[in-house]
Symmetry: C2
Subunit: 550 residues, 2 copies
């Protein structure tokens, strides 16, 4: 592997551990916990892992001498997030500190490798190649869901074979839910295997009162903010384009919100607000067009609009349309397949309810076709394929034409489109994520040594310098509630959406009217690793505002 100059220089970075984890620790138990909702249901489903206490590590003044080696397995689950390699290197260093003969096994390409017994032993030679790097390529990741007893039993075979006593699953809310189901099962059958989760997702929707942020969010949003800032500077130099920028993040708008706080664009749509206010697509289009017109009145025919990837699914009227489309096309698949391409849209419109037909025919043809044609194996619309940024851009242009004809808009409108996602998921972790991930992994080894299972590795107090961070464990059941999934009620970790009374959104809402009309772009620039602390060691603004509000 040929390494870049930065990679070589960055390999020498030693993540700063919370001071409490730098020596021997003892686990201090808090009070028994309960789930955030549906306590009876969750308790019934997790008799062995429900109600456990929170754990906080403290310095142990009288540490026991010596420990036996422990073998640990690790799985990367789901989409990439910057810092995964540091979780693994922290875990590696942690179990080696317990005993130098401890071994770490990485299951390959996600949970599938666990079930199929594909693994590699992670030696220091391998680990050292990946310290402080982005990506999940050290062992790969995958989206296989660990849900069935058959998978759990199959996985247990390889754990027994390798004498693995603890499994660390690095993943998002669903993967951590499954980690807890696995922990419960192994406890129930007395398998003698602990299961520990680590909170990963660039989307930022795995957080709560006790998990301050998921790892990767910090780095990914900094990369997106870098390129958004660069585009804004171009926008403010050329003064002739509106840039519509879609940002990854299906179910929550944390990424768009953080980037807005960093870059101060003219417009940022927050899906959760659209849903709460029951806005239609036209409401959104009109609000953007009004801002374009207001800026044009000041001679400013340029600007930036941030759009969360999942927007379409948050628009109540679009949700209803998509649901009817799914039913209509599933029920009439054979007939629909015979319709001439140029008659398809009218065929569909004729069969929709009046309200949905109205929305459907208001869409640009390209999007309407996409809604009818690009369907997943279950026959559902593939919402993620819809180019929402172009949809909004084209509808805003149409709206502006109308406003111009009514004398309410005088200006020129030309749009450029961007979508950022893959650019940030595997970036080299920021100092924050490098430290946070290393601490999460190292801390996981302390939870393993403490003998617990069904816990998530927790590192808190994150707006403080990393040496002051607080380390411990949170019972995963504590974060759960019951939700309907595929028609049945299931225990799941509650997803953290943007809350409209939250500190980050409030800060945004206070300033956005000014950002819209004035040009108050901020240009964050690229992530820096070696410079002054005020440049290199800052956490996300979301985290700062949320802490300040506490």
């Amino acid at each position: 592997m040929k390494k870049s100059a930065l990679q070589k220089a960055r390999a020498a970075y030693q993540p700063k551990l919370p001071v409490v984890l730098t020596g021997a620790v003892k686990a201090v138990e808090g009070k028994p916990t309960h789930s955030v909702a549906d306590q009876d249901d969750i308790k019934a489903l997790f008799p062995n892992t429900y109600g456990l206490p929170e754990i906080q590590f403290e310095k142990d003044p009288n540490p026991a001498k010596g420990s036996t080696p422990i073998n640990v397995g690790v799985i990367l689950s789901g989409g990439q997030a910057p810092g995964g390699h540091n979780v693994i290197s922290g875990l590696f260093d942690g179990i080696k500190k317990i005993n130098r003969d401890s071994r770490l096994y990485g299951f390959l390409m996600g949970p599938g490798g666990f079930v199929d017994h594909k693994y590699v032993e992670l030696t220091s030679e391998i680990i050292d190649q990946f310290r402080n790097t982005g990506g999940f390529d050290i062992i790969g990741s995958g989206r296989t869901k660990l849900e069935t007893k058959a998978q759990f039993d199959k996985g247990l075979e390889i754990l027994k074979q390798l004498d693995i006593k603890a499994l660390v699953i690095i993943g998002g809310d669903d993967s951590n839910t499954n980690a807890c189901v696995l922990a419960e099962y192994y406890k129930q059958i007395n398998a003698g295997v602990q299961v520990i989760g680590c909170p990963k997702t660039i989307d930022g929707d795995l957080k709560n009162e006790v998990i301050e942020t998921s790892f990767g969010f910090d780095t990914a949003t900094k990369v997106y903010s870098e390129v958004i800032g660069n585009i804004q500077r171009d926008c403010n130099s050329a003064k002739k384009y509106w840039h519509f920028i879609k940002l990854m993040g299906r179910s929550a708008s944390h990424i768009a919100l953080e980037c807005a706080l960093q870059c101060q664009p003219n417009v940022c749509i927050i899906s959760e607000e659209v849903e709460a206010k029951k806005q239609t697509l036209n409401d959104i289009v009109n609000s953007i067009a009004d801002i374009v017109a207001a800026r044009a009145a000041n001679g400013n025919n340029y600007g930036t609009v941030l759009i969360p990837e999942g927007l379409i699914e948050f628009i109540p009227a679009m949700k209803v349309l998509i649901a009817e489309l799914n039913d209509l096309l599933a029920a009439n698949a054979a007939e629909f397949a015979t319709i001439e391409p140029n008659n398809r849209l009218s065929w569909v419109a004729d069969r929709l309810s009046a309200e949905n037909a109205g929305i459907f025919t208001s869409l640009p043809d390209g999007v309407a076709n996409q809604l009818c044609l690009d369907r997943d194996p279950h026959g559902n619309v593939q919402v993620s394929l819809i180019e929402t940024e172009k949809l909004l851009g084209h509808m805003v242009a149409r709206r502006l034409d109308q406003m111009k004809s009514e004398g309410r808009y005088v200006g020129k409108f030309a749009a450029q489109f961007h979508f950022f996602g893959y650019e940030g998921r595997c970036a080299d972790p920021s100092n924050f994520d490098a430290d946070y991930c290393y601490a999460l992994g190292f801390n996981a080894s302390c939870l393993i040594r403490a003998g617990v299972t069904g816990y998530m590795s927790s590192v808190r107090n994150l707006t403080k310098p990393s040496v002051q961070w607080i380390a411990g464990g949170i019972p995963i059941t504590m974060m759960m509630n019951m939700e309907r999934r595929h028609g049945a009620m299931k225990p799941v970790i509650q997803k953290a959406l943007v809350t409209l009374d939250g500190a980050a959104f409030t800060k945004f809402a206070e300033q956005r009217d000014s950002w819209a009309i004035n040009t108050e772009f901020v240009y964050p620039g690229p992530i820096q690793y070696f410079g002054p602390a005020e440049v290199c060691d800052q956490c996300s603004m979301t985290l700062k505002y949320e802490h300040a509000a506490k």
Copy 2:
């Protein structure tokens, strides 16, 4: 203007001047020069500025005491490039060093501001806000072409009014050509105004024996390489997508080539090679599909493809098709407008020559429609709007289906598409561009003081540390040849395309077969400003290879 933490920290950076420019200089003249071609024609067109000697600055051991103040005007012309603000701040510091009462006037929004007398005096308060920042927002840029005597005379009025004795034009090859025409005209009429050019363009196509690189290329390619590297790491972690990545650069593939040298993708198309080898679109598609199939045979259903923005125009067969389309649609505009949308493609195909009809019908419908519908005000196809990355991705998918049916491909193919351009044009300049631009601007002040006109600011020896750079001036006529533009022969600066026997392409060609089949991705990471020199102070690989070959 709210500044980011990086912007604040970066404001303190003092660009490192070539040591020769740190004290008083004298201009040492070389031999008279001649143009790279068409000497007689160029000489006839530039009687006053042809044949001037190259100038190199040396330390002046006996400098004259004191100088009178000089007023200078500056124009940013054309697309943004990182470092433009530093050219202006170097120029500002240079003329203030000549005399503290010198004044710098910036014409607003490009050459148009010069013609329309829109300007601002650039004071140290303004300049200090923009040191080491990206963008052209200090005075804006524009694409008005300075070509007519009327413009020159109109501009001269404001120069006289502000007592401006020298004009610095920061632009690409066309803008510098026009700078020279202006220099010639002002000399001819004895206007008493010098004109100096500065080589700007991220495309990297303004370079030659005496101008080693244009500014902005270094930073822009580093930004693109950062995000390409991040995508490659994602690609190598998820192992399930082919990423088709289009890169800005209309007429030359230097950007794609430099990014390939930095990132080692599986495929990089070089337009100049396509043209030289008279490749068809199918040739390109087949060569990519062959690599996809070869990787799939090794179990690797993922990879990266870099595509230069201008590719379509370099494919000889597409050029011929586009030319016939332009003629056909211009001659039959009225009839074409009456054709039903779903009959348009067949209407066009029926009227094209057999060969072009064959190519036209082989294109995906979306692209064929784009070729017919999206036309510029002159009725020409807007090639830049064609989503070449999607065109290639879809055609590769089709080709792979065919190969699969023939048993020559076993694998899964899923593509993601990206286009990077605006992300890099206004990035904060790398240390290289910050230094190079500051030196170009400061050096321009030395050329002004030396009393010359029709020169381009030249800073050379760029692979060495910046203090060792060589500074001087190159007669712009020296870079010119005659080319056909809009039907007439015109004197223009020869555009530097990628040469297939050049050092950078040769290095690429030596390695690409290995990069194609193996996975040898390199991950450059973001531009660093504060770290070790081997990370922060490197010039482009193109420049390194070109120098090493000298």
